[in-house]
Subunit: 392 residues, 2 copies
């Protein structure tokens, strides 16, 4: 027999994510390669109590089919949090619940992209976005991500040459680089896109996890009509419940809702109701502050070790939040070799190449600091310093 798959399936870059799950599975390997929040910071007891209450009080109603847009009280909670935390005038009607913000990547590309349409994204950029977008066969333009955000001149030049359907970025503690856009960059992007037909698609998976606890204004604040903003409970409550959302203007949300309904009718209803119940009796601000402080300390340890214990020529980003940083290696060291030698020496890192659309990334690695305790970070970074010395 032979199967005739769609052309789009040959477009997808080879995935590292499953390979990483396998590497992460070896108990002797210290992994900085994954993207997991610390399991110990998930409040299983609180979520269990919420689940118990919901199933006792609402019974089978919480297990029935529901509407595509999502559980309204949860959407109201999310909208209220946007108003309070970021000062943007969000309403429940502008929010669609999805299966983690990854699903936004799929559905946004689905509603906007014809094959051959142009889109822009950061370079380096989020791997899951590259995979999701590539299945809709757009032409993807990478815009270099610098310390203050995307290279604005490069962005403007690309946007002038090609009508971009959207630009996708992670302004807060970006995955993979850990970089955060400066506020002035956010305003400049909004000014650049104001009055154009290019949507700014802002993925805010990490905006609650700034180590200093200070929220940064989303680009959407300056570009309300052409800004869409995705969020997620994965990094701040529990990823296994798969609850994220999109905040978007009504005409976009309407198309997005049609695509969501065709994709899977609606997201897990039980977990939506449980999530809402959990959050209703919970000080999410205090929880987030605690998680961010712990990640901040782990990040500081990792940065200090990169400064003190590594070969000259190794540099790194200095995140203000989130779960990742990026380290840059001297020209003669291949990140792929670091990955391979790392697997042998029981330390897993992620080479930069898959994050770079249009090429690049041969000499950088992504390091996750959220999952490992400080002692593990110290031991793992020793091993990694050894890997890099061996390859120098």
């Amino acid at each position: 027999m032979s199967y005739r798959f769609a052309d789009r399936m040959s477009n997808i870059p080879e995935s590292f994510i499953e390979a990483l799950f396998r590497v992460s599975g070896d108990p002797e390997t210290i992994s900085f390669a994954g993207g997991l929040p610390d399991t110990n910071l998930i409040d299983a007891a609180g979520i269990a109590a919420a689940a118990r209450e919901v199933l006792e009080e609402e019974g089978a109603a919480a297990l029935q089919y529901s509407t595509t847009d999502g559980y309204r009280p949860l959407r109201e909670y999310i909208a209220a949090r946007y108003r309070k935390r970021l000062g943007i005038p969000a309403t429940a009607g502008e929010i669609q619940i999805v299966n983690g913000s990854q699903q936004c990547l799929d559905l946004v590309a689905k509603i906007f992209c014809n094959p051959g349409d142009h889109i822009g994204m950061e370079r380096p950029g989020y791997l899951g976005a590259i995979e999701a977008f590539s299945l809709y066969e757009p032409v993807v333009h990478g815009v270099d991500l610098c310390d203050n955000g995307p290279d604005l001149a490069m962005f403007a030049r690309i946007a002038e040459e090609h009508p971009l359907k959207f630009f996708y970025g992670i302004p807060n503690s970006q995955n993979p680089s850990g970089r955060t856009y400066a506020e002035e960059t956010r305003r400049s992007i909004a000014r650049m896109l104001e009055g154009t037909e290019t949507v700014f698609y802002e993925d805010d998976a990490f905006g609650e996890l700034f180590f200093d606890g200070r929220p940064r204004p989303p680009v959407k604040k300056y570009l309300p009509d052409m800004g869409i903003l995705s969020g997620s409970f994965s990094k701040i409550v529990a990823p296994g419940m798969r609850i994220g959302w999109l905040l978007a203007p009504e005409p976009v949300l309407q198309q997005f809702n049609v695509a969501k309904q065709a994709a899977d009718l609606h997201s897990n209803y039980l977990c939506q109701v449980v999530m809402h119940r959990y959050l209703s009796g919970f000080d999410l601000d205090a929880h987030v502050r605690r998680v961010a402080a712990i990640y901040g300390e782990r990040c500081r340890v990792m940065c200090d070790l990169l400064d003190d214990r590594f070969t000259a020529g190794v540099t790194h980003t200095t995140p203000e939040g989130g779960m990742f940083l990026m380290a840059f290696l001297p020209e003669q060291i291949s990140a792929m070799r670091v990955f391979e030698e790392g697997v042998r020496r029981k330390v897993a890192v992620l080479p930069g190449v898959p994050f770079y659309v249009n090429g690049g990334g041969d000499h950088c690695i992504r390091l996750n600091f959220s999952r490992s305790k400080e002692e593990e970070i110290m031991e793992g970074m020793e091993r990694l310093a050894g890997v890099i010395r061996a390859l120098s």
Copy 2:
């Protein structure tokens, strides 16, 4: 501002599903229009106990990210059930967990269909499939669904004229018609497709709900290499947990897994673990027998009323299982008018038109019998008989 959506978004037929949820929301309306299992037959207490055990014993591990393919013990349960119940040699490695079998519709079309590719499906066919497929812009050929299954001559003619990527059908108690393929039709389809490059995509949402409790052999049994089979816990355990699956040969499952990962990384992990825990200590066979017996009685009441209380010229299918039947009206009565007049007289039905790709369905309606108790069925069918008399 203006938004430039992808061309595919103008392809989607107008959705009735959300409209139906609204109609179903009026407490005075008796609705035969929806597609919900009876909430009273969902074992909320059993699922609550399983959730409590899982969160007590596994804690935060059940709330973390997981692998794309799905929780292995659950896939093993599903495979074992296929071996035992249907005698097909399924293994956990051939099963991918998804968000209800609706997600299979999206991802199967995604991995197989280039725009303009030909696919086949039953006419009338499942509305959610028409919506999901249409976003990938295939040419959809409807094959008339008769009492014994698809019109084989028509199927053969279409398959000869066009290389079909797949044919999508619901052999067991089809939605919307309630029809079940005869075993000989299943064998004939397998013979017809054997050695071709056309996949038979079999949606088995209702196969556990035969009123006589006797399983019917899937087409995949006779066409192992080119058969893919989707299933779901929505109709037999709880739809709000959104857990379905695809059983497919390895080369198909590999592409499907890539598409699933890009779509949303993985399905709700907590509910997968809870579902497995629930089923492990539960006599699903006995539960399914009980649900099927209740639905069977409701179906019989509805069929008897159609025979006894309706205008001459109204006919109907006689389901062997599932949740739906179809009634056919005399030529002079428009199903759209029945829908509209029904809303006024507080009885909701679904007109046939949206189920018919390539036109048709103007004089039939779909009736759901799973959700309403017998007294409601009697009252609602009285109202419906009145609607039809008024329009005769």
